[in-house]
Amino acid sequence: MVDDTEKFKNLSETLGEAHVKTEPKITAQYTVDNVVPRAVVFPKNTDQISEVVKFANRENLAIVTRGSGTKMAMGNPPRKLDLVVCTSRMNHMLDVDTSNLTMTVEAGVKFRDIQARLATQEDRCYLPLGDLEAEGDEIICSDRSHSGCFVPIDPPYADKATIGGIIATNSTGPRRLLYNLPRDCIIGIRVVAPNGDVLGSGGKTVKNVSGYDVSKLMVGSMGTLGILCETTLRMLPLPEKMETLLVSFANFSDASAFAGRIFETSLLPAAVEIMNGEAFGHLSLDDKPDFGSNGYVAAIALEAFEPAVDRMRIEMLNMAKEAGAGANAVFEEEDHRSFWLAMSNLSATLDKKFSGFIKAKLNYPLSMWKNIIASGESIFSEANLDYIVQAHAGNGICFTGLLVDNNDTSATDKAVEAMNQLLAYCQEVDGNLVIQSAPADVKSNLRIWGKIGFDFVVMKRLKDQLDPKGIMSPGRFVEGL
């Protein structure tokens, strides 16, 4: 093995020796799909990131950016990997302007700390502060603005993910139904371009059409066009009331009929999540109602003015009854927040339980959702696989996961085959299937990003123009961009 200490000496001088790690026992903790980086660096601000990227340019080093590491399983294995750039020290909230309903934070700030900062004086927060503090591993932001606001994004790993990672992967969750996507929430960014330039786009205004929308280009670009350093987000006032309706159904057909009925009205739920009993069973939640494991569960998030929540509860429970619902339960306030945090951590939970867990995100035109799920169910059942289904009804998005043990090669083979079959079906109906996580050794048998769009020609042109040396996250994105 080459001793890289000398090579990275320059970088140590810029960042400080403690923040450039080349020791194998450390680099081994930062692998990407089993590829070990030659060094891991911890810059403290945008200028240092710029220095790191300029250094990588001179030395022709491939960079992967990392926040909390919750998304490292996404994408193809890297074609080349030299440097992992960690944003963990970039954890400052630079401007919290609650009167303007915007905030600017560094990329390494954790999503939960943003929400904690915006909690009310009584600690009413978009996330369940009680649950977060119970973890005790790190300090939750104690500096409170007492504004009673929140940033309307609902990402997976809500208690661990950094805002940089959420944006780079366009992470979304069930409540996108009401609040839309990170792309709709970001109004400004500062980025280090692949050549090391620091550049900005957008700012603190909620409308801005001065130049190309570089902010949105960066959203979901998986770190292949630069390193996101700072971002300005818009916020909303916390809903007056938050409540969850849980309703059990004997099968998907009844559950989906219920969801369909909701979308015929002008009621405005924050989320209509339809999941199978297996998914509900694995939710890590105290006092979970026992709905049995065979059927389906609808989880409705209601976040609105109190009278509107009251009306939605009454009307929706009636609709559920008409659709043949079984038992139901209602979670209010902190219980509501705990429930949706558990939802956001469902795949983390399963990842721990099943060594060969393969998770996919399916997208499709809204009206195709019943066909897609029926098709998934039949493919998985025929292959005799245990699976979860978690559909964001009304969004055209569904997550599915296969609960496999990595040592069980026959099950793993069947799982790969099943995912490929389901991808083919999604493509038939103008949708797609993207693998969100899979063991590194299984990835080569999967089409990680699914089908390629007609606009790939432009993506390639952009990548070649903006990152001609191909040093930013090479190989991990669509078609190996």
Binding site: V209, N363, P365
Partner: protein
């Protein structure tokens, strides 16, 4: 390429009836709603994506400048063919191709008039949210290219938030599709890059737009103030209170007077300004919110708050707002609209600066704008034929944009940079920012033939 040969080649693609080249025609395509003017060499009216692709391939082969145009309502010179060449007018590609209620999308050609689509989907209880004031004449293609806003964008976001997919003809004539009826497509968000690109990256030939259910209930208030500051402070206070209405529009006395000359709305002509505040959504909780807003208005010395009692009254209030730009022609023959945008908390301060700048250059300035977004629209009124006045207008406009940028804002909220604000990009961008944009442009159009000379200043 020789002009006659060019015309002959275009005749072959779209037929001679759809190629315009008389002096009169070229003059008609030499301007938009901005102050700039330049004549194209030829205007072509295609009827299909295939024809657009052939026209583009021809321009690519011969390196001829080319730009797309809808109704020409844009305010910054985006459709002025400054380098001559071909203007592609989308007036014939004006079909609503499909309204797919099950998938909540509408697929339209670029020449569809925004309001026509909105009227059509409203029949089934759906809305396409972006509502630029020019929606009666503006086209979807133009809205997409400029990333148009409108009053309701306060709550619902701008055009970009409502476009799910596009069909785009690239520089060499290749036709691509971005996004689609399914959301979250893998790869870079090319749709978001094309929206608001001011026609500089390709020609949009189809758009898939997001439809939403019309809100169950709407409440529209008119708040009347005796001082501009009070109105502006009210706007900041409403947002700071955490209330995001569907719209929060301001109109000052100058504009109200102009409006009353043309459309009889019944605005109070002795007031300094009014706010049009609209709430929408489920009716539950709306009254409480309205009461909170009225209370904030009172704290800021409102003279009176009126509630539109029915749809007819609401329509009259909006007719005045939407007709405002047209009405100022009553005051002076020309106007320049500055589209500077500021963080909402800076509104009172910057509005004062705008008034001062008007006094300094001795120019009447009317204000009618999206106050809740911090998106100012000072209308500087003048006579274009008066050279001295014209030069003062340009100076005043630059100063207003500088004031917005200095307040942490930007030079355009929804009208774009075009040609008009190329110089002012320096207020918000450094050379690195601009170089990144130039790289994006080069990725799409290395020969710089697609709407050249717009949005990004040339390398200094």
């Amino acid at each position: 390429m020789d002009k006659q040969k060019l015309i002959a080649s275009l005749n072959e693609i779209v037929g001679p009836d759809n190629v315009l080249s008389s002096e009169m025609d070229l003059m008609l395509y030499s301007y938009d709603a901005s102050l700039d003017k330049a004549k194209p060499d030829v205007v072509v009216l295609p009827d299909s994506t295939e024809e657009v692709s052939k026209i583009m391939a021809l321009a690519y082969k011969e390196k001829i400048p080319i730009l797309g145009r809808g109704s020409g309502t844009n305010l910054t010179g985006g459709t002025v063919p400054i380098k001559g060449g071909i203007v592609v007018h989308f007036s014939r590609m004006n079909r609503i191709l499909e309204i797919d209620y099950a998938n909540r999308t509408a697929t339209v050609q670029p020449g569809v008039i925004t309001l026509d689509l909105q009227t059509e989907v409203l029949k089934k209880g759906f809305v396409y949210q972006p509502d630029p004031a020019s929606q009666k004449v503006s086209t979807i293609g133009g809205n997409v290219s400029e990333n148009s806003g409108g009053p309701h964008c306060l709550k619902y976001g701008v055009t970009s938030n409502h476009v799910q997919g596009l069909e785009v003809v690239l520089n060499d004539g290749t036709v691509i599709n971005t996004g689609g009826k399914a959301r979250d497509n893998a790869g870079y968000d090319i749709t978001a890059l094309v929206v608001g690109s001011e026609g500089t990256v390709g020609l949009v030939t189809k758009a898939i737009l997001k439809l939403e259910r019309a809100p169950e209930s709407v409440k529209t208030l008119l708040a009347i103030f005796d001082a501009i500051e009070d109105g502006a402070n009210t706007v900041s206070a409403i947002v700071a209170e955490g209330i995001i209405p569907a719209t929060l529009e301001m109109m000052d006395n100058t504009v109200m007077r102009a409006v009353e000359e043309t459309i009889k709305v019944g605005y109070p002509l002795d007031a300094a300004c009014v706010l049009i505040i609209e709430l929408d959504g489920m009716p539950e909780g709306m009254d409480d919110n309205a009461s909170k807003i009225v209370e904030i208005c009172r704290q800021n010395h409102v003279r009176d708050v009126r509630l539109a009692k029915d749809e007819a009254e609401r329509n009259v209030l909006w007719a005045g707002r939407k007709g405002a730009f047209g009405s100022v022609g009553q005051v002076r023959p020309s106007y320049l609209c500055c589209d500077g945008t500021v963080p909402r908390t800076k509104l009172p301060e910057v509005l004062n600066q705008v008034i001062e700048i008007g006094k300094k250059y001795n120019l009447p300035i009317g204000n009618v704008f999206h106050a809740g977004d911090g998106n100012l629209h000072p209308l500087i009124m003048f006579d274009e034929r008066d050279e001295d006045e014209r030069s003062r207008v340009l100076k005043a406009s630059t100063e207003i944009l500088k004031a917005c940028a200095d307040a942490g804002g930007t030079i355009s909220g929804e009208h774009g940079v075009g040609m008009e604000k190329l110089k002012e990009t320096a207020f918000i961008f450094n050379e690195c920012d601009l170089e990144f944009e130039r790289q994006i442009k080069r990725a799409f159009d290395p020969d710089d033939i697609i709407n050249p000379g717009k949005m990004i200043p040339a390398n200094s």
